[in-house]
Amino acid sequence: MSDNTVQRDLSAYEAARAEADHPHSAVVRFGAEAPLQLDAGGVLTPFQIAYQTYGTLNAARSNAILLCHALSGDQHAANVHPVTGKPGWWETLVGPGKPIDTERFFVIASNVLGGCLGTTGPSSTNPSTGQPYGLDLPVVTIRDMVRAQAMLIDHLGIEKLLAVVGGSMGGMQVLQWAASYPERVFAAMPIATAARHSAQNIAFHEVGRQAVMADPDWRGGRYLHEGTSPRRGLSVARMAAHITYMSDSSLHRKFGRRLQDRDGHTFSFDADFQVESYLRHQGESFVDRFDANSYLYVTRAMDYFDLAGEYEGVLANAFKGVKTRFCLVSFTSDWLFTTADSRAIVHALNASGAQVSFAEIESDKGHDSFLLDEPEFFAITRGFIDAAARAVGAL
């Protein structure tokens, strides 16, 4: 690695950390007059939410769509990312003329509570100490994230959202929205998600967290105070997680057993295989843009998610009398959030009498399919959103 590269990496890292308090996004700050109730007990105050919007809110305020991002996502769904310079993570789906059409809809995307791109999280400055929160931030839940989003939607003057859409952890937020604020959500689209995090998924998250915490540079969560960064730990966590986002067949198609810039095995532990090199790159680039403690907080929020748990263990009770219409989507090769997970939600919605669509999309790209070019998924999204818009007269 040349000195130049080190310099660039460091500045990307620093640029990302600067987003925590002063993001390249709109920010709403909630002071002592609007404390955030937390499931862990107590309140968070003050706190802030960073968000992006696309398109224009119509006069009736009936065309607003909220996007909920996944574990490693952020509010930059459909614009160039201020830190990485890459296109927004959902530009496949969201934009002018796209299935979620920003020429017709007012689209909102906010950074989740506990995140690191401008919404209050562990790398944000704790106003009572002037230092980063680190582990002093209370552990947050999916419901806390959604409570914070509801305050943002209030702040934007929107009574009822046309739709709430999200995949993976974003889908958990969609389900929580429909359960917590059914009268504020006309249409809900939970994609590649589950109503509870499975034991297997908690196990994968635990591996990732242990990798972060085992890095001596993590410093008990005080790396920002001490000027270190648990790069290796977070990178390993990301590498392990990335495998779970793909499928066996997509890894095979992409890499097979091909070697990386060499003719034979080196009989060492260097990255001989392309798949190793790819994962190392995934890990390295993630470290620049994502805060290690945020990774702990956000994975924990997913682990704690069990929507039925709030309703006597009966998922259908979460949606009792709900008027929201739903569209669930799963992908055949997704083994992290399976079709069976989506079907369990569909069964609960049927039992509660909700209007629901459910489609399973054939794809060999694994969990990440919802972020990729999947024409059938796009057609379904467009059909569902347009039908909802027609029903409320927003088209």
Binding site: V346, H347, N350, Q355, S357, A359, I361, I380, G383
Partner: protein, 216 residues
């Protein structure tokens, strides 16, 4: 009734909708809640929503059918009638419809019972294996009949439980349902209008549509 049916077949020609679907739609009370089991890409759902103002939802087994229907904004879930009907609460719909699908279910009797549990009415349409041309085909050729509507060969067909109109009437009695209305369509897709005994319908009807309700 006769005039109504004429209008229906006229409408069918204009709208391009299947006559049996128009017959079904005509049996459904406007504004009611309907579950269409085996909804395909949602042709009947759309017809019910636009012409009868129904809250119409579908279950469909084939992924292609579901995806095409949902992409048109219709509420369809990918699912299996033989399993998923059990999830719906009692009386959650006014009508549960099974159009041209009962012969493809693994447990026709169970499906019919579930339909009458979930809905206060059930509407079933099916190809009649007692149709004279089927009988003639089997008699003359000695091979399993295959027609324009049922082109599959015996060893490669989704249709595993064919029945005749009389067989179906017997099943209705067995599950203890009441027949509110019945119609048969002849080989040209026209309703067989004259009120004739089942045995005659069984001969002349290529397809049949039954409106059932729970007894008591």
């Amino acid at each position: 009734m006769a005039a109504r049916d004429l209008t229906m077949s006229e409408a069918a020609r204009v709208a391009g909708a299947r006559v049996d679907l128009l017959l079904i739609a005509e049996m459904v009370r406007p504004g009611s809640r309907v579950l269409d089991v085996g909804s395909g890409d949602g042709e009947l759902l759309e017809l019910l929503a636009t012409t009868r103002g129904c809250d119409a939802r579908g279950i469909e087994l084939s992924r292609e059918g579901v995806n095409a229907g949902v992409a048109r904004g219709l509420p369809i879930i990918q699912g299996d009638a033989d399993i998923d009907l059990a999830d719906y609460p009692d009386n959650s719909f006014d009508y549960v419809i099974l159009s041209q699908t009962i012969q493809a279910t693994r447990r026709p009797k169970w499906v019919l019972e579930q339909m009458l549990r979930v809905g206060s009415h059930a509407i079933v349409s099916f190809p009649n294996f007692g149709f004279w041309r089927m009988r003639l085909d089997l008699l003359v050729n000695g091979r399993m009949p295959s027609t324009e509507n049922l082109p599959y060969s015996w060893h490669d067909t989704p249709n595993i439980h064919f029945c005749t109109i009389r067989d179906f009437v017997a099943l209705v009695e067995e599950v203890g349902a009441r027949i509110d209305r019945a119609a048969a369509l002849n080989g040209y897709g026209h309703p067989v209008r004259v009120n004739l005994p089942w045995a005659v319908w069984n001969l002349l009807g290529e397809q049949a549509v039954f409106l059932l309700s729970r007894k008591g």
